[in-house]
Amino acid sequence: MNLQGTPRQVGDITIVDLSGRITLGDGSVVLREILNELTHGGHLKIILNLEDVDYIDSSGIGELVSAYATSQAGNGELKLLNLTRRVHDLLQITKLYTVFDIYSDERSALAGFR
């Protein structure tokens, strides 16, 4: 299933509800476009809700890393929410679990912003 993302606003924080696969090609491109649009629109506080994303390949991981680095460089903050077990395991084995700011419930993720 192609990746779909629906942004919603909670105060000055944007939560993007993602569903589908983040893989080389369409999935990675969709994620990049969503994040570019948000960044250019001045949205600096972003939560990616990955509850309905059960498949990320190495390109998708690269896209998340790129998004995180871009966000940091632009004084923004990017957090990940509701990882599925497979995505959780993938970030664990790639040692990225400690790099990203990861939450398992929305309230904590929202409270995690400065």
């Binding site: 893989t23 080389l24 498949y55 390949d57 190495s58 390109s59 995180y68 790639t94 040692k95 990225l96």
Partner: protein
Amino acid sequence: MPSEPKRIEVTLETVLDSVDLAESIVMRVAEAAGFDEEDLHKIGMSVREGVINAYNYGNQQDRGRKLFLKVELEEKRMVIRIIDQGAGFDMGEVPDPLAEENLMRTSGRGLFLMKSFMDEFTVQRGPTGGAELVMSKNYPDKVAPKN
């Protein structure tokens, strides 16, 4: 258990769609061979990563080159080979994606994932000089491919 190994060989174009196609071919074979859902996920992802590697780094996205996918059901394991027509590479020269200085790199994790997800993974020189990725997964206990 088959009396002799079963083998499938497919020649793929160097296009992005070959990633999905290769994954779907191998998944069908793996499912018929009796792998459980968790192993199917790992096998499918490893094939994707292998073909992405061959497409991007081996064949350099050159549509004039081909990719070769071979799947063999041996007595105790499934063996998958992904061969490109690039220049080949040495695994020892590939940066470790888990090293602190590489953690924030946006690429370079595909080989690591294949190694992590499969029971065996090696890179050797293919028949035309490109890379040949060889990966295998042992069948779950008490399961062997049907005749």
